[in-house]
């Protein structure tokens, strides 16, 4: 008797789609940007020395008790409203019990059968402008765990000699948003997953309840994937890929899991219900641990906390504070910026609306903001395997670069280099331009000399230009750029050539 087959080569995505329909379930954790933690007055801050943003409550010392952060509750209600959820009249916290060294009390205070928000939906705009509605099951409040570092071995958990725990993150307020099963996504499932997480990120950013920086884990996604044979209605066994922490990774992880499931199922095997880990380097997932008895979390209502009762008055007050819904905002921005439909869609697909808006609000023209975010910043981010927003380019930097170009001090090409040097920590664009001597050669002496040299070396081109083929000037610009190490202004070169030949520009 052979064991059930649980592993096989993944099918291609096209083959998988030909045979199966995917069902998704997405759990997104949002870390709130409150000043203090969910249940204690310790600071909610990122990047400080280990175990310095903790107090007796975060360390789970004996005799300590939790007290709920009002701001976190209000943030949760606002998010619930933005996700078109019903807000519970009464809700409670519960203890989710499991032993793990990053969990100081050996339970996580969460919400179980009484989430603060439930039964919502989010209309997600896809790359081609189509709208897909994702139904939301619930959004509930909970606390984050501490951070483990594994020492020895490979630095990964398996094979580590020991682990170190920093509780700075312990108790940071989280909201977990759980979708209902997403059925009918078909081949667009990975795109829908990415667009959904992107939309959640836009919303929490718009609500200003989270820094929403995925690379810092402010927004994290667990992706549940299962397949059912085409035309079937009964869901298959699902896998849960944990902590997929970038928009691209969400799309890739869902794609990979669909292919993997399809491979196993097509080979006659069965899917193990388990958690899986996303591996960015190979764009694959690896087996975590199977669901087992140890998952008996023994939830019960947290007796150290009292229920939260939401009055209509309170909810309406918070509703009045909500920013404009993202869909309306998109409509407004499209009009205000005057982009072509395709341009605007690309911006939305790239998830760069907020960045561009912020840049425009800071004084850049919409065209300049789009050019930088969709162009060089995205390219550099891609090269560094980061989200564009994660590069840390500020609107001020973009405006400064644009200003330098407008003033004729640098050209586009140099500006791109300046940005890269800026990201490498060389200072502001102005500082880089002057420190590296990158200013465009516009003093006529040096430039004229370079032009004269180019003209002397390319008499055939000069002849063409003199003969009226003005376009041929382009062939002179290359050598001039070479001579000036790229710091020549193309317009200026053209002017000088024409002047030399006595042609009216």
């Amino acid at each position: 008797m052979t064991e059930t087959l649980t592993e096989a080569s993944p099918l291609s995505y096209e083959e998988a789609m030909a045979r199966f329909d995917p069902v998704l379930g997405l759990e997104v954790h949002v870390e709130l940007n409150t000043k203090t933690k969910m249940f204690s007055s310790a600071p909610n801050a990122f990047g400080d020395e280990p175990n310095t943003n903790v107090n007796p409550v975060c360390l789970g010392l004996p005799g300590t008790l939790p007290v709920v952060n009002r701001q976190a509750v209000e943030d949760a209600i606002k998010l619930g409203l933005a996700l078109n959820c019903r807000i519970a009249e009464t809700c409670r916290f519960a203890r989710k019990q499991y032993f793990y060294p990053d969990t100081p009390k050996n339970w996580q205070t969460s919400q179980y059968d009484e989430p603060i928000a439930f039964d919502g939906h989010l209309d997600v705009e896809l790359d081609d402008g189509e709208i897909f509605r994702v139904e939301i099951e619930r959004a509930h409040m909970e606390e984050d765990a501490g951070k483990l570092t594994h020492a020895g071995g490979s630095g990964r958990i398996q094979g580590a000699d020991y682990s170190l725990v920093d509780y700075n993150r312990s108790g940071v307020p989280l909201i977990e948003i759980v979708t209902k099963p997403i059925v009918g996504a078909g081949e667009r499932a990975p795109e829908i997953a990415r667009a959904y997480v992107s939309a959640i990120r836009d919303i929490v950013k718009a609500l200003d309840i989270s820094d929403a920086r995925m690379e810092r884990g402010n927004v994290r996604c667990d992706a549940n994937v299962s397949l059912m044979p085409k035309g079937a209605s009964e869901f298959g066994t699902r896998s849960e890929t944990k902590n997929v922490n970038s928009l691209r990774a969400v799309e890739h992880a869902v794609t990979y899991e669909i292919r993997r499931h399809a491979g196993v199922l097509s080979a006659g095997g069965s899917i193990v219900q388990e958690t899986r880990h996303w591996k960015e380097d190979t764009r694959t997932t690896s087996s975590g641990r199977p669901k087992s008895d140890a998952d008996d979390y023994r939830y019960f209502p947290e007796p150290d906390l009292l229920p939260i009762v939401t009055t209509e008055e309170w909810i309406e007050k918070l509703r009045a504070e909500l920013p404009e819904p993202p869909a309306e905002r998109r409509r407004r921005l499209r009009e205000a910026w005057g982009y072509a439909d395709a341009e605007f869609r690309d911006v939305v697909a790239a998830g760069l609306l907020s960045e561009i808006e912020e840049t425009v609000d800071s004084g850049a023209t919409p065209a300049v903001a789009r050019k930088w975010w969709m162009g060089e910043i995205s390219r550099l981010a891609n090269a560094r395997d980061l989200e564009p927003a994660a590069l840390g380019v500020t609107p001020a930097t973009i405006i400064e670069l644009a200003g330098l170009i407008d003033a004729g001090k640098i050209n586009d090409k140099i500006a791109r280099q300046v940005l890269e040097h800026h990201l490498d920590g060389e200072g502001s664009p102005e500082e880089i331009v002057s420190a590296r001597g990158l200013e465009v050669v516009s003093d006529d002496g040096a430039l004229t000399a370079a032009v004269e040299k180019a003209m002397a070396e390319n008499p055939d081109v000069v002849e063409k230009v003199a003969g009226g083929k003005l376009k041929a000037i382009g062939a002179l610009i290359g050598p001039v750029m070479k001579e000036t190490r790229g710091q020549a202004d193309a317009g200026k070169v053209r002017e000088i050539v024409l002047a030399k030949l006595g042609i009216e520009g």
Partner: protein
């Protein structure tokens, strides 16, 4: 059982912040003292709102000592709980209890009987809720952040096994029993039948108290069905040990305040009776009123027998040379 005055304040009256938690929804800190007045003075010192405890009451702390000194119980309706007497109660305990009632009657109080049918299930509910919450509250003692860490004697050194060895070494038998029982009561498939049902019993007990306080100003019962058992006597029979809590548990589940006052000896050991007061001045509205905890104090004063007098020279009584405590007329004022 110990011949001392023991106070159980209204749930939320004394902050639990800093107290090592057993069962969060039951835990309440109260003074144990020689006299009611001492207990009242201490109670006044430790009571009051604490923003670090979400379950802390915001009411003003009443003048407990004043209430403890009050002697007049004329016209006070004292309710005897039908379910907390009779079968299972030691003869001597019941006799001392009757004497306490007589003393109250003589001092002008009116004794009535009240019916609290759900109290029958209080012990079961308590021994599900308490271990459940304790199993959770004690989970933090794992040797990671503080306290003892014990390494397993053999086998691989993993965190799971170190936690297991640490907790095996650090907890005593009764604690382990409660943790395992609580883990069971909360586990999947049993929650509704056990913890869930126990929480419903809790509702019924609260309703019984509310109904009883419609008929009486304070309630009274023996503190425990028997006097103290000998050291180690019931270690092998935890259930028998648990049964001794039967009289105090209903108030614990309902958060109702009470005070246990020594009431003479039964079979050479101290017996006591408990007085319970409503934690709400106006049931069933259940808004904790600022004056309510005063009630149990007012009936602990002189007219009630306090025969294990605090001024007894050889206090506290300790075997084997336990003195025959005299039935004195000693009072506290």
């Amino acid at each position: 059982m110990t011949g001392t005055v023991g106070t159980k304040p209204t749930y939320g009256s004394v902050s639990r912040y800093g107290a090592i938690a057993m069962a969060s929804s039951l835990d309440q800190i109260g003074p144990v003292a020689r006299t009611t007045e001492d207990a009242a003075l201490l109670h006044a010192l430790i009571a009051g709102h604490d923003p670090k405890d979400s379950t802390s009451l915001t009411d003003e702390v009443p003048d407990f000592a004043q209430a403890a000194r009050r002697v007049d119980v004329t016209g006070l309706k004292v309710g005897v709980i039908r379910q907390l007497q009779g079968e299972g109660y030691q003869q001597g305990v019941l006799a001392r209890f009757q004497e306490a009632l007589d003393a109250l009657r003589e001092a002008g109080a009116e004794i009535v009987e009240v019916d609290c049918p759900s109290f029958e299930h209080a012990l079961s509910a308590y021994y599900l809720i308490m271990p459940s919450e304790a199993s959770s509250n004690l989970a933090r003692y794992d040797g990671v952040r503080y306290g003892h860490r014990v390494l397993p004697e053999d086998g691989p050194l993993t965190i799971e096994r170190v936690m297991g060895a640490t907790r095996a070494a650090g907890f005593g038998d009764e604690v382990k029993r409660r943790i395992v029982l609580g883990t069971y009561a909360l586990s999947a498939g049993y929650y509704d039948a056990y913890y869930g049902s126990a929480q419903k019993v809790r509702t019924l007990i609260q309703q019984d108290f509310e109904a009883a306080f419609e008929q009486a100003d304070v309630l009274i019962s023996p503190t425990s069905p028997t006097v103290a058992f000998r050291l180690g006597e019931k270690l092998d029979d935890p259930l028998a040990m648990y049964l001794n809590d039967v009289a105090t548990i209903p108030a614990n589940l309902a958060g109702v305040p009470g005070i246990s006052v020594p009431g003479g000896l039964a079979d050479d050991a101290p017996a006591a009776s408990c007085r319970w007061a409503s934690s709400s001045s106006r049931p069933p509205v259940r808004t904790p009123g600022s004056t309510t905890p005063v009630r149990p104090w007012s009936v602990c004063s002189p007219p009630t027998p306090n025969r294990c007098g605090p001024r007894s020279p050889s206090w506290p009584p300790s075997p084997p040379s336990r003195p025959r405590l005299q039935e004195s007329e000693d009072t506290y004022d």
